[in-house]
């Protein structure tokens, strides 16, 4: 057992047993005293002592005090016990052994001299025991000493001690367990210290360890490893219960609630005692009565009563309430949901024109020479020559790369249309003026081709039976032949447009006439035959075109484009242009897309596979479109308009049928001056380069590259 500032007590189980054994050999009261100590210890401080655990660290001062006293008492007791054992307990020397071992022996141990201690003669039987119990008044205080086997009669003091122990009291009568506590180790500063030990130096110099710790913290703060605590937000935070509310849920509907319109508060007229100006005169009252209830300004008659008591019940009360309910019920009160859409997002994402090069961007050459408006232009299949027909009754042939006019051919009227034969092995240009179409051989390009063309025309042999044709074919002779005229076709009406089939043998002419079925004729040059493909008049024909690959024929009337199959001789498609008056038409070289220009400033792109309605309508021009054209290789198309500009668009057609054509306007080309309210009259692309030609009312042809 040790003690210090904190008291450490160790009482082992073995130790306690030894106490018992030791005490068992000593006097009874001593045994009881020790038992009492142990019982007392285990009873009073069960939390501190238990049989199994053997060590406690006790720090509470009151506990320490108690223990201190207990231990003091126990030590004195032990000293006393040891002393008494040494002096008295000399009868048996076997020690601390189970006495059963001597059960079968006559002795029970040995005395100090080594002589056997014999068991006292026990001849009492049960009856004797009983009699003894009945008769002996000290029987209850007689106990057997196991060590000696002798019966001991307990004295009064011993019995008293047993009683005290049984009651849980201290064995010592004189021991006062309620002594006043002396607080040796109090928190109060005493004048006199408990110990006389001088103060440690470390108690009044700053602690090095703490300094080191603080230094570490300061370094960590400097390095930013430790951040100062954020100041606590003083403003209370509220949780928005309805932040994620679905407006369609029931609660959301409450949010969208629109209160019913309030009824107008009663005014002076409704008063029981209105000012006299509110009261109706006799005529007014009559007029009021004669009016229909719907037309009345007032739904009641203002009345004057002498006092509030005299006011009768309102006769129309139920009626009025019902009407009010009807109003509330029938009037829809709903908040309109406005869709917030950024207008930028509605614009489709188009590639930048910069990425779609090449396309014509600048005016490069001006072909000057015509004195009147140039209605039509056409480029030779090789791309070396350009032909233009003008209202000054001339056709001019130009060298594309230098803008040199190589040849001027005069014809007998204002030229409406020119078309270069697309077949590279034939050198022919169809020119239409008035009611005549002339096939010219310009003599440009390959000499062999020119002579072969001449030979082809002169080798024609008249068939036996002469067909009655509406168009007269004549071979040019004399001066006309010198100029290049080869064949002259006289039509019954003025020819507006000429166009070649891709093979270069068929030539279609348009003679717009609203009243006749003879509006379109198709000539076969090699056989000098003419046929009228249409029996019925389907409207004023504006322009016609051959399909570049398949035997289809496109006829544009004012509002529709009809696609005919020339082999089956039937109408395959009718395209609705959604515009008032188609002016021009061009077929994509792939054959599945058509663009139409119209006089109401629109350009309609049709995808024949998609629909008979326009896939896209472009309204870029400010005035009527006069001409549209596709490029043969590049994904480009151009439109010329009366506003003097040519607009070039990127029109990519994909082989993938699922992908719609991509149409991006890329460039507005300006250069033509507007004369007589006319700007650009014709546009056409160079066959191989991304160049566009335009002819205008100012008598020039311009090349944009």
């Amino acid at each position: 057992i040790g003690y210090g500032r904190g008291v450490f007590i160790e009482i082992t189980h073995r130790c306690r047993t030894r106490f018992k054994v030791a005490l068992a050999t000593s006097e009874n009261f001593q045994l009881s005293a020790v038992t009492s100590v142990c019982a007392r210890l285990s009873q009073t401080k069960k939390s501190l002592f238990s049989d199994q655990s053997s060590a406690w660290f006790i720090s509470s001062p009151s506990c320490v005090m108690f223990l201190w006293r207990t231990v003091k008492w126990a030590v004195s007791l032990l000293v006393f016990i040891t002393f008494s054992v040494r002096s008295q307990d000399i009868r048996n020397t076997v020690g601390n052994i189970p006495m059963e071992w001597y059960k079968d022996y006559p002795h029970i141990g040995y005395d100090l001299d080594g002589k056997k201690i014999f068991k006292p003669i026990r001849n009492k039987d049960e009856l004797d025991e009983f009699l003894d119990k009945m008769e002996n008044p000290d029987y209850w205080r007689t106990v057997q000493d196991k060590m000696t086997g002798a019966d001991i009669r307990l004295s009064d003091e011993q019995v008293d001690l047993v009683h005290r122990l049984q009651q849980g009291k201290f064995g010592d009568v004189n021991f006062n367990e309620y002594e006043p506590a002396i607080d040796f180790f109090s928190n109060e500063v005493m004048i006199h210290p408990v110990t006389n030990r001088p103060q440690d130096k470390r108690s009044f110099i700053p602690s090095l360890i703490e300094k080191e710790k603080v230094g570490k913290l300061v370094h960590a703060i400097k390095m930013g490893w430790i951040k100062p605590r954020r100041p606590k937000e003083t403003t209370p935070q509220y949780y928005d219960l309805w932040a994620k509310e679905d407006p369609n849920s029931i609660l959301g509907r409450h949010k969208m609630h629109v209160p019913a319109p309030k009824m107008k508060l009663p005014g002076h007229q409704e008063s029981y005692n209105p000012p006299p100006e509110y009261l109706l005169s006799e005529e007014e009252r009559l007029a009021w009565e004669q009016q229909d209830p719907e037309d009345r300004k007032l739904s009641f008659l203002p009345q004057k009563f002498a006092c509030l008591r005299a006011v009768p019940a309102y006769s129309r009360f139920i009626h009025e309430r019902f009407e009010r309910c009807l109003d509330l019920y029938l009037c829809p009160r709903q908040r309109k949901m406005r869709v917030n859409v950024n207008p930028e997002d509605l614009i489709p994402k188009l590639p930048k024109p910069k990425d779609l090069q090449p396309f014509p961007t600048t005016q490069s050459l001006v072909y000057r020479g015509h004195s009147s408006l140039v209605r039509s232009i056409s480029v030779s299949p090789s791309g070396q020559w350009l032909v233009s027909g003008s209202d000054d009754c001339t056709v001019r042939f130009w060298e594309v790369s230098t803008a040199r006019c190589l040849k001027t051919v005069e014809v007998g009227g204002a030229v409406k249309g020119v078309a270069w034969n697309p077949n590279p092995s034939i050198c022919l240009v169809a020119v239409s003026y008035d009611d005549t179409v002339v096939l010219l051989n310009p003599g440009l390009g390959d000499r062999l081709v020119c002579t072969a063309t001449d030979q082809l025309i002169s080798s024609y042999e008249e068939p036996e039976e002469v067909m009655d044709q509406s168009v007269q074919w004549a071979v040019a002779e004399g001066e006309g032949h010198e100029q290049g005229h080869r064949l002259i076709l006289k039509h019954p009406k003025a020819v507006r447009q000429v166009t070649w089939h891709g093979k270069g043998d068929y030539l279609a002419c348009v003679m717009p006439d609203n009243g006749s079925s003879l509006q379109v004729v198709i000539h076969q040059v090699s056989k000098r035959r003419t046929q009228n493909p249409f029996r019925k008049n389907k409207g004023l024909v504006q322009c016609v075109s051959f399909h570049p690959i398949r035997p289809y024929f496109f006829v544009a009337t004012q509002r529709y484009v009809r696609v005919y199959n020339l082999i089956k001789q039937e109408l395959t498609k009718k395209l609705m242009a959604n515009c008032k008056w188609i002016s021009s038409m061009a077929i994509h070289p792939g054959g599945d897309n058509v663009i139409c220009g119209s006089y109401d400033c629109r350009l309609a792109w049709f995808d024949l596979d998609l629909s008979t309605k326009p896939y896209k309508v472009l309204r870029h021009h400010k005035k009527a479109l006069r001409s549209v054209a596709y490029h043969r290789h590049y994904p480009l198309f151009a439109s010329g308009s009366d506003d003097g500009s040519v607009i070039v668009c990127h029109g990519m057609v994909y082989n993938d049928l699922l992908q719609n054509p991509l149409i991006v306007p890329v460039k507005v080309l300006k250069g033509h001056t507007i004369t007589h309210d006319l700007g650009v009259l014709d546009v056409t692309f160079h066959p191989t380069q991304p160049w566009v030609f335009s002819s205008g009312a100012d008598g020039t042809v311009r090349l944009f590259t």
């Binding site: 490069s364 090789s382 070396q384 790369s401 040199r404 390959d446 380069q689």
Partner: protein, 416 residues
């Protein structure tokens, strides 16, 4: 004002100054620097006359102040700047204006004579003084030229090339050969350095090589109407057929030239310049551009190709580089298609270009931002330019005029 340390040097022995660095104001411009050099030269030898100089900083002409130039070139102002100076190229002086009857499509000159082709279907020989010496009329269409002293070549839109023999003493021309074989207008002809062959490029996408040696024999041609042909031969000369045909271009050939005796170079409308082996006919290299090429010119001095195309730029190419579509330099100042471009025969940095914007420009590759001089004499499109070895620049155009300019670039070479 900040000062810059500069060391001046020159190739020209005549204007040599001491090789020491000078401190000059950073804001000084060409005239200031020129004054400095002149001062130094005057101090060195008394008989010095004032000469205008031009200055090159890192191989490029100085056009702005020295400070701004050094800033753009990232030259440190702490170090000594090496500045080369050359005598300033004086402006070409207009010399003659020769009127034609029609547009001039091509011009070629040697030291004595000028040969022009015109849209009036004739080729003309002029003396250097601008006197009409001879008119060669034989083609049925527009003409192109190429002269080899007494032998003349004319190519035409009528798909033929004619070889003429010109006797300058008697002043007579005789058609020796008519070269037939092209199926399109012949746009360009070029004679090889050995003067035994010539090459022609045509709209029919073909390049053909012909013999340039006149003979008395006619090449065999299968023609059904032989008698008529005989009769024609009197005027047109003997028919000649090509020695070799190169096909490979996808579009019309616009310009052809000989790099040397074995190598041909052709430019085409299909946006390519191709190099050919003249012996085997194989393609050696292809330079791909983005626009139609109108004209090319090759300088054996700097081994660069210059091309004019249907945009505003004159582009320089290295024909030897394998990655053939790399533009070394773009010279941009024209406003129209560049129709003609010609390297200087004597100076490795200079070239002249003509454009549809009516201007002929004289370029120095060391000043790529702006041309040295604009020769704005023409009133219409410039169609052709040429540069003779004795410093004569010629240009013809759609205003029917042939202008000649005297250019004194040779001063530099004479001094050097």
């Amino acid at each position: 004002m900040s000062q810059v340390q500069a060391r001046f040097f020159t190739e020209n022995k005549k204007y040599l100054i001491d090789d020491v660095p000078f401190s000059i104001p950073a804001a000084s411009e060409v005239t200031d620097l020129s004054g400095v050099i002149n001062k130094l030269l005057e101090a060195k030898n008394d008989g010095h006359k004032h000469v205008e100089f031009d200055f090159l900083v890192q191989g490029q002409f100085l056009r702005t102040s020295l400070a701004s130039r050094m800033e753009t070139e990232n030259i440190s102002t702490e170090e000594v700047v090496e500045i080369e100076y050359v005598e300033k190229f004086t402006a070409p002086q207009p010399e003659e204006c020769v009127m034609h009857d029609d547009w001039i499509s091509s011009v070629e000159a040697d030291s004595e004579w000028i040969l022009t082709g015109s849209y009036d279907k004739t080729a003309r020989i002029w003396s250097m003084e601008g006197k009409a010496v001879m008119t060669v009329a034989g083609h049925t269409d527009v003409n192109l030229y190429n002269g080899l002293s007494s032998l003349l070549l004319t190519a035409s839109l009528d798909q033929t090339i004619m070889l003429w023999e010109w006797n300058s003493e008697r002043n007579k021309v005789k058609a020796r050969h008519c070269c037939r074989g092209h199926a399109g207008s012949v746009d360009t002809v070029a004679v090889d350095p050995t003067r035994t062959k010539f090459c022609s490029g045509s709209w029919d996408k073909m390049l053909k090589i012909w013999s340039a040696v006149p003979t008395e024999e006619e090449d065999e041609i299968e023609e059904p109407n032989r008698p008529r042909k005989k009769q024609k031969t009197e005027q047109m000369g003997l028919t000649r057929t090509p020695l070799m045909t190169f096909s490979g271009h996808n579009e019309a050939v616009s310009s052809v030239l000989w790099m040397d005796a074995e190598e041909l170079c052709s430019a085409s409308w299909d946006h390519t310049i191709r190099l050919w082996d003249a012996e085997t006919g194989g393609q050696k290299n292809t330079i791909t551009g983005s626009k139609v090429f109108n004209c090319i010119s090759y300088s054996p001095l700097c081994r660069r190709l210059a091309s004019g195309s249907t945009d505003r730029h004159v582009r320089l190419w290295d024909p030897r580089s394998k990655d053939g579509s790399l533009v070394l330099l773009s010279l941009t100042s024209h406003n129209g298609w560049v129709t003609a471009v010609r390297w200087s025969p004597s100076h490795e940095h200079q070239l002249v270009s003509g454009s549809l914007d009516n201007v002929v420009k004289l370029w120095d590759t060391r000043s790529c931002k702006a041309p040295l001089y604009d020769l704005a004499a023409h009133e219409d499109k410039v169609m052709c330019v040429d540069w003779t070895e004795n410093g004569l620049i010629l240009s013809g155009g759609a205003d029917n005029k042939l202008y000649t300019y005297r250019y004194s670039a040779c001063v530099l070479d004479a001094g050097a």
